[in-house]
Amino acid sequence: MPLLNDEIRQEVSKILANLPGPVRLVMFTQQFECEYCAETRQLVEEVAELSDQITAEIYDFQADQAKAESLGIDKIPAIAVIGAQDYGVRFYGIPSGYEFASFLHAIQSVAAGKPELSEATLKFLDGLIKPVHIQVFVTPTCPYCPQAVMLAHQMAIASPMVRSDMVEAMEFPQLAIKYQVMGVPRTVINETVHIEGAAPESMVVAKLREALRG
């Protein structure tokens, strides 16, 4: 039973037609698959079928521990969306509901390797000398969330110092508790600075500055 129905499949094929470069979807599950691990694997495989440019690589989180570590993957289900290089674009938990849009956008963006950000933001990101880790907590039913996820992923593509995760809060309740997530989107920068809601680009940059000062 496919996850994507025919209508969605056709639309996705259109969206992913003419990708400017190859994309690897590196997915981690385990032998006894976690909640949504099986579905996430299936989703990755189904999406990969819809474009010649996309390949799915499935790994076992335990058996392929070294691989997971090399990609900085610390929980499953996980997807690293990798283009000509690994920009640090990650999805933890299944990108379903509204997050499917973030997932497709990430594929398009790493294929192009050209971030869609303002000149001022690009300049700021170019000057980064410290690493930045952005985690965006979401639920699949949140229409505001993809905006925050897409922006974080664009920043990862723009700078080798930035890595950005979508984290599906329902699948990682322990992280939702740790980061006091009671509403989404909630963006956590370098463990210290939080943003509630889908903030405009300029505000996220201001929060990055704040995190780097701290």
């Binding site: 379903s96 950000l117 505001y144 993809p146 809601g197």
Partner: protein, 333 residues
């Protein structure tokens, strides 16, 4: 049950030389309906969808009063259909928001974080945003126990008690939605009866998880690190009391999003854009539709209706000033 919603177009920097016949600000029912009409009229149109593509339906669990869907329709699904229909007729939809406008020059100028756009006509359909209570604790806990989006955040209140502030359709419909997760949903309403549609009232009163606190307003949201409750005041007796709760959802109506236009367009005393029956604003060539200019009804079909009128008026306006139109076709792509 997993579902997969498709994107609308992504943000993209556009060359600023291009002059559109029409830019629609806002991607809700009013803006998207205007886009469908403009697309079919072959008007060279750009739509800036803003932060919530699909508008308020995208944030609504179930829409039951839109004609043609006797069983009701999932709000996000309806929103997606609007977007797909507008795109089908060739309207370019960009996921970007206006951050500044200059309505004193021709063509009009719209600025966003990513680009600057120009157009001969505008339809402003940016809708309304949820009104805040303006009480202590609200800002501090917004996104951390205080919410205006039950579909986004309901999950975090499984087996907990939540307070819903308001007595209209949104408060009751979203309160009912929250009963799927929460142990108890306490409706705090300033009057002694609900304003919501009768059918919503019947469902609310029949739901064993729903409780009602009448004639009361929230004066403070309480808590140290997390929300622990609200302090309410009874307007009839003047007494205050505390309702323990883990979360607060605020549905006390909407405010038009018109800060960008203050001083450039005529607004009424509540901040709504003033329009006439042809959806014209105080500036020729600029039209407004949907909740941003509707203090009275704020219904999906009305928004779609005013979007239709605005688009038809734009078509007439462009015919009256064909120079602009032609200039665009030479200057366009």
């Amino acid at each position: 049950m997993l579902d997969f919603k498709l994107a609308i177009s992504q943000p993209e920097a556009r060359p600023s030389e291009e002059v559109y016949d029409l830019i629609i600000l806002g991607g809700g029912p009013a803006g998207l309906t205007a886009a469908i009409y403009a697309g079919r009229a072959r008007i060279h149109t750009l739509l800036l969808a803003g932060p919530l593509p699909g508008g308020q339906p995208a944030n609504t669990d179930m829409v039951e009063n839109f004609p043609g869907f006797p069983e009701g329709i999932d709000g996000p699904d309806l929103a997606r259909r609007f977007v797909a229909q507008a795109e089908r007729f060739g309207v370019r939809i960009v996921h970007d928001s206006a951050t500044g406008v200059d309505l004193s020059v021709r063509p009009f100028i719209i600025r966003t974080d990513l680009a600057t756009y120009r157009a001969h006509t505008l339809i402003i359909a940016m809708g309304a945003v949820p009104r805040r209570l303006g009480v202590p604790g609200e800002d501090r806990f917004f996104g951390r126990g205080v919410s205006a989006c039950a579909t986004c955040d309901g999950f975090f209140y499984r087996d907990k008690r939540v307070v819903v502030v308001g007595g209209g359709d949104s408060a009751i419909a979203e309160g009912l939605y929250l009963t799927r997760f929460a142990r108890e949903v306490v409706i705090v309403h300033r009057r002694d009866q609900l304003r919501a549609t009768q059918i919503h009232q019947e469902r609310a009163f029949a739901n064993p998880k729903m409780r009602f606190v009448w004639d009361s307003v929230v004066e403070e949201i309480l808590g140290e690190k997390t929300v622990t409750g609200v302090r309410v005041r009874n307007l009839k007796t003047g007494e205050t009391s505390v309702i323990e709760a883990d979360g607060v959802f605020i549905y006390i109506g909407m405010e038009p999003q018109t800060q960008l236009f203050a001083g450039q367009l005529e607004l009424d005393k509540w901040g709504y854009i003033v329009t006439d029956r042809r959806q014209r604003t105080s500036v020729p060539g600029i039209f407004a539709a949907g909740d941003i200019q509707d203090p009275l009804y704020r219904q999906l079909v009305v928004a779609a209706g005013t979007g239709t009128i605005a688009a038809m008026e734009v078509e007439k306006y462009l015919e009256m000033y064909p120079q602009n139109h032609q200039e665009n076709h030479q200057g366009g792509k």
